[in-house]
Symmetry: C2
Subunit: 445 residues, 2 copies
Amino acid sequence: MPQKQLHLTAFMRPVSLHSGAWRYPGAYADANFNLAHLTSFIQKLESAKFDAFFMADHLAVMNMPIEALKRSHTITSFEPFTLLAALSAVTTKIGLAATASTTYEQPYHIARRFASLDHLSGGRAAWNIVTTGNPDSSKNFGQDEHMEHADRYKRAREFFDVVTGLWDSFADDAFIRDKESGIFFDPERMHTLNHKGDSLQVKGPLNIARPVQGWPVIVQAGQSEPGRQLAAETAEVVFCSPRDLAGSKALYADIKGRVRAAGRNPDHLKILPAAFVVVGDTAEDAQEKRLKLDSLVHYDTAIASLSVMLGTDARVFDPDQPIPENLPKTNASQTAQDGVVKLGKDEGLTVRQIAQRMGGYSGLAFVGTPEEIATEMQQWLDEEGADGFTVVFPFLPQGLDAVAEKLIPELQRRGLFRKDYEGATLREHLGLPRPGNQFFKESVL
Amino acid sequence: MPQKQLHLTAFMRPVSLHSGAWRYPGAYADANFNLAHLTSFIQKLESAKFDAFFMADHLAVMNMPIEALKRSHTITSFEPFTLLAALSAVTTKIGLAATASTTYEQPYHIARRFASLDHLSGGRAAWNIVTTGNPDSSKNFGQDEHMEHADRYKRAREFFDVVTGLWDSFADDAFIRDKESGIFFDPERMHTLNHKGDSLQVKGPLNIARPVQGWPVIVQAGQSEPGRQLAAETAEVVFCSPRDLAGSKALYADIKGRVRAAGRNPDHLKILPAAFVVVGDTAEDAQEKRLKLDSLVHYDTAIASLSVMLGTDARVFDPDQPIPENLPKTNASQTAQDGVVKLGKDEGLTVRQIAQRMGGYSGLAFVGTPEEIATEMQQWLDEEGADGFTVVFPFLPQGLDAVAEKLIPELQRRGLFRKDYEGATLREHLGLPRPGNQFFKESVL
């Protein structure tokens, strides 16, 4: 059996999820909001043959206390759709995944924009379906209260049906453009959706040809019960945040099982956990980089986060000593307390360093040499913990360059990652089929 | 006194408003929906030093009978915003004007997208504020009925205040990015809008830095009473459709007077009527091109349009004879009937040719040699009928090339049009000031 292949997307909004990233020595402080930098990043990722450039989104300033917010490089960001359209003109192969909300958007607009991006990019668009988690968003859209979780997912499911229905407004062969007869398109090959559902009423047809990929690739990030079910029914890529391989294998098995139960081929949904990747020349070098980066997180906000996590005021501990063994029993999760204590022991960290880890980036991380990281990634792939990863960079450009120039060649040497793009569209990079048109079965392209 | 300068924008969605354009011999049949063609058009317009590339928009398939619709090259178009973001990456100077609806959009989205386009393009964005005329749009956005005209304009005025308020969320100097202290921005230089009005409630702040131009340039196209008033209070460019110089002078005087009455400088609003421009090597050559183009309009739909205009069934007339002098008195406008009879006499047209003119493009047209057209344009400029024009092309690429390569050099020879861009932003091309930040008066950039 041939070696399974990793799929890699790059998490790029913000360009790093680590809150100290912009302060790292030599890092671009404005990397998240500088078109020239973003252009160089995507071109570097394309030369490294990444599957896609992935943009999260927020429909409000991040909901954090002002003392933390004023230290955050996320405060000013490009709107993902506009940026990806611009970047489509300076790239030719890499996929372009934009987040768009089903709660605060209209399906006619979303269908048009993704169809446009797919045409403009020659079939490289993906839609990351979110229901929007930040409750502050509602106040920017005329609503005092954020819609309830269950209602958001109900609307999301219907929204997906409407958008895909609108994408299928025209058969692939609808546009005749016969100068002689003067017939531009065949009205028999146009479908009017006439959707009337619980949350949405949309007549159609869409005023744009069917996307190059049929439908842009569907991405979904929810890990909740309704999120997993929505993904199983609709998604082709799942972005998730497991803490470790055991947790990821359970999630992987659950979602792939749901896909099978929904009558779909489980190979047609790729599970790509978020992974913070710090590449070093030696294991120590990588660890030092990470500790240096963590040290740039402001202590006041870091210790506040740790206090919440532990359920006790961590400011009373000596910041430069290990965390006390016998933490007071509190309402906080015992697992969280145990995790913090274990982290301190495993890596020999002080209270300050633990707090800064929690305030920097505390999710799944691969920190080491290219060889060590490649071995870990292969294990996740072979043990069905992942079909690849959504790579989170520690700081830019250096952290991204190290992945592109050191880790990717090692993955290629091991036959785990493509040496060149074999197809033209994002669906082809991901090994996903082009969906048929639900209204024009005989359509061929 | 130095010669006043023309401002020229290019009407590019659809790429030609003439319904026969795509059938013209040698024209690109898919010009309206082909990125490579659109890229060559905008680069040609930039080399000709046009102020801006202007995209109208429709939030539904055009509301025409299917017999006409199936002959229309407008059926598939890019969403303007996505296209302009992509084209921003292949141009450096030309302005990028996108239409966006205040009736079927949310101000937080609009403010973000235009701010993003302005940053991505280095200060070249313009927002054409429309309230959406096509009533079919409502059915694509969950509403059975299109909002009433007066309500649409009331919402538009408030929408403008919200969007400009969101653009002013940050002082120009808010972003400190001090790696040493870890302070990314100064919260004292961020403003939360907290708008609560009749139509809209929007909290803010926007999650993007203030646009390069302060505010993207504001364009308005309404000619109705509330449309003119909205323009006088908010617009910096007015797009309009007068029939002739006398009508345009009246409109020009009215709008400039309203601008003065609103306490604004009338030079800070540019009036750019739509003009269909057909350049020929001789006057006869230009006329022949136009007649050839008109002849490509399908007779059945053309004669139906003419019948509606005349208020009588024009199919009973001999298509190859002049129009009868004594048309039956009907409920149709006498002015419309007289205009049709006069057109037939002035140009010696048959019923068929008149019908095809009405079904092709019946608005203001400049048809002639570069010298003749330059003389007409100068007259409109000097007599205060216009500050320039929104150029509508007859067919592409030839009709656009003729404007860029023959008309523009003639205008430049006469000192009526720039030989090169003097500024970097669209505001600078148009001679418009950069608005101050309403919440941070002392802001300097």
